[in-house]
């Protein structure tokens, strides 16, 4: 064992009741196969995926359903075999309760896999191929934010990643999904980490686990024994040590710069669940179609963890864990600190780690907010060293520039400030609303700028067109003036000498062969005869059996030949 890693402290933080023991007694269970799965096209940060299947298609488990659109997007695969029932707006796990476009899959109960392509020896592959494999498996960060993993691995190609941090802190009360992942799949998680190491070639790998998970720490230590680069680091239990920036600070003592990425200080952070998904994608060839979800809360008869298929409706998982409807007060997706109330019709997506069916005692309705007494407890609790109290005043006054000056965007919305607030002010809601307003204003500005450019370009275009028209008009006027002058000059000349016009006339005559009135009549007669003949022939083509028409055509042919001959004779006489 190498030297002990020094643990650093983060500012602030709180110690809420953990409530983790309830859901860890039953291992990771397999819920029944749902009859209908809802697969939203947006399960990650970025651009929604684009469906490649149609309604009515039969798909196999693991088959590609939707492709990623650009780098900030993620592919989507069928979690089981079945038929595509619908593609359109469907319930979506979002705080707004709004629906989002989704692929709805009716399972056929066979759960038949598509042919998988596992990689026998990932060490033989270069990192670009491996990252492509991870992108094709549709892996996005499973800790909560859902950043596409392949893009994260390539986020700063010019920065060397010295430290790979595996986030197993899981600091939020009630949630045990990562804990159970590490306890039950330690070897797979470590292989996943080794694959990430092969891609990133870091100098050290630190697995940060809060010391309230001794089983997970022991399991991971044993699984990682053979690899001296990987070190399991137990960290003191404190909320929110599992925040990406906080964990980096605890393990390395360095802070991610404001507005920057961990890669800026040579660190990359991945969740344990993501490491497991990486293992499945490379070693088994399986795309990301299921994840460990904690089902917990006082309203459930048997709180547990499940390996749930992505797209399983929340209500079915709750039924599996024995939901007692009369005790349910609030259904939360995520933990009690950062989670949000969710519609039970919505499905589990790639980022859903916990379902908390809380009773009235567990998550009581917050008392009405009282005025801020400027006690400063929130500033002491803030892990990002912000001034929540000041931010709250600025948000109330809608002073957006001031909010930005006080680094509102460094707020990780952990809720520690609201937790300690004696006036129970919903501080985080102020900050979320403030962030939303600022983003909307920025968007408006971008749009205004775009509109201004388009408006100016349009004006320029109209001006150009007007100038062009003016130029054309002038050119035409000049031409007309020239023609008029020429004509006048000619007329003047004609009056002077009658014969002087002859060269012009001769030229005109040479171009247009002139015919005498007699010849003209012959030509017209020939043309008429030809027309009559053609008309009769057409009629004959339509009714080939008509003998009258046949006779008529013969006559007309003769007439035409005569007329033509007469005309030609007349013209040739003239020429000779």
């Amino acid at each position: 064992m190498t030297a002990q890693i020094r643990i650093h402290d983060i500012p602030g933080g709180i110690h809420p009741p953990e409530n983790k023991a309830q859901s860890t007694t039953r291992g990771v269970e397999q819920p029944p196969l749902p009859a209908r799965l809802i697969l939203p096209l947006l399960q990650h940060i970025g651009v929604p995926a684009e469906p490649v299947v149609k309604v009515g298609d039969h798909v196999l488990k693991g088959q590609l359903l939707a492709t990623a659109q650009g780098r900030f997007s993620c592919a989507l695969h069928a979690p089981t075999s079945g038929t595509i029932a619908e593609i359109g707006p469907a319930p979506y796990p979002h705080v707004s309760g709004l629906h989002e476009p989704a692929i709805v899959l009716d399972s056929d109960g066979e759960d038949r896999w598509v042919e998988l392509e596992p990689i026998a020896d990932y060490r033989a592959l270069d990192h670009v191929t491996l990252v492509e494999k991870l992108a094709a498996a549709g892996i996005s960060g499973m800790g909560g934010a859902g950043f596409p993993t392949a893009t994260k691995l390539l986020s700063r190609p010019d920065h060397r990643i010295e430290t790979l941090i595996i986030n197993g802190a899981e600091c939020e009360p009630y949630i045990t999904a990562d804990d159970m992942t590490m306890r039950h799949y330690p070897a797979q998680v470590v292989t996943g980490i080794e694959i990430l190491m092969h891609v990133l070639t870091p100098e050290q790998v630190l697995i940060g686990i809060e010391d309230n998970k001794p089983e997970a720490i022991a399991a991971m230590r044993e699984a990682a024994q053979h690899n001296p680069t990987i070190r399991v680091v137990p960290i003191p239990t404190k909320y929110p040590s599992g925040g990406e920036k906080q964990l980096i600070q605890i393990l390395t003592g360095r802070e991610v710069p404001s507005g920057g990425l961990p890669a800026d200080i040579g660190v990359l952070c991945q969740n344990t669940g993501t490491a497991l998904a990486v293992h499945d994608a490379v070693m088994l060839g399986r795309p990301l179609i299921s994840r460990v979800v904690t089902l917990t809360g006082g309203a459930l008869e048997r709180p547990t963890n499940v390996q749930a298929l992505i797209g399983t409706p929340i209500s079915e998982l709750l039924a599996f864990a024995g939901l007692q409807r009369e005790r349910l007060h609030r259904l939360v997706l995520g933990g009690p600190m950062m989670g949000f109330t969710v519609d039970p019709q919505a499905p589990i997506i790639k980022t859903s780690n916990c379902l908390l069916a809380a009773t009235e005692q567990e998550l009581p309705t917050p008392p009405p907010a009282l005025p801020c007494i400027r006690c400063g407890l929130c500033a002491e609790a803030c892990p990002a060293q912000l001034l929540p109290q000041q931010l709250h005043w600025f948000a109330l006054g809608k002073d957006y520039p001031q909010l930005q000056r006080y680094n509102l965007f460094d707020c990780i919305e952990c809720g520690a400030c609201a937790y300690v607030c004696p006036s129970s002010i919903p501080l985080v809601q102020y900050f979320r609303a403030g962030k939303g307003e600022i983003r909307a204003i920025e968007q408006q500005h971008t749009k205004a700028e775009q509109s201004r450019v388009r408006y100016e370009q349009r004006l320029e275009r109209l001006q150009r067109e007007a100038e062009q028209r003016e130029r054309d008009r002038q050119a035409r006027a000049e031409k007309a003036a020239r023609a008029k002058a020429a004509r006048e000059a000619r007329e003047a000349q004609e009056q002077q000498t009658g014969a002087a016009t002859e060269p012009d006339l001769a030229r005109v005559k040479a171009r247009i062969p002139t015919l005498s009135p007699e010849q003209k009549q012959l030509k017209i007669a020939a043309a008429t005869a030809r027309m009559a003949l053609q008309k009769a022939q057409k009629q004959l083509n339509a009714n080939p059996d008509n003998s009258d028409l046949q006779a008529q055509v013969v006559q007309l042919e003769q007439a035409h030949a005569e007329a033509q001959q007469a005309f030609e004779q007349a013209t040739s006489q003239e020429d000779t």
Partner: protein, 190 residues
Amino acid sequence: MGMVLTAVAVLLLLALVFGALLGYAAVRFRVEGDPIVDQINALLPQTQCGQCGFPGCKPYAEAIANGEAINKCPPGGETTIQALADLLDVEALPLDGEHGEEKPPMVAYIREAECIGCTKCIQACPVDAILGAAKQMHTVIVDECTGCDLCVEPCPVDCIDMVPLPVTTRNWRWDMPPAPPLAAAERGAA
């Protein structure tokens, strides 16, 4: 006497030197255009709707720079008035109702089945956000539409609707919590 002459001569010299310096600076550091107009224009919403009575945002910005009231822009609403008031250091007036009311952002929608392809809306659109050709169906590029209403009037078959921008999970925003009540002492006093 000599002293006075020297003083006059020195002052004259100084006046000439500084005059020359100022004259040079005026040419060398000449400011092109009117920067205040651009600053005002940057705060306006650029819908080019003409509700203010000017033929676009830039002309209104020029008018404001020449003393026009700052409360004639309904699409910008209170936010724009406040920003203009801050920039120009004048009092923020409430929006002038005569020019219209503040509305949520809208986009034009062409009922394509009814469109006869007359191109009148295309000519009216200040930001070229309508796509189409003569006797071909037209459609609105939603991302470019400023919701200015100018295409609605020219349409001979009234097939253009102004619809509010749809709310999705990506443009949905948290509401501000309701303002907290007054402190108990103040409540007692009130």
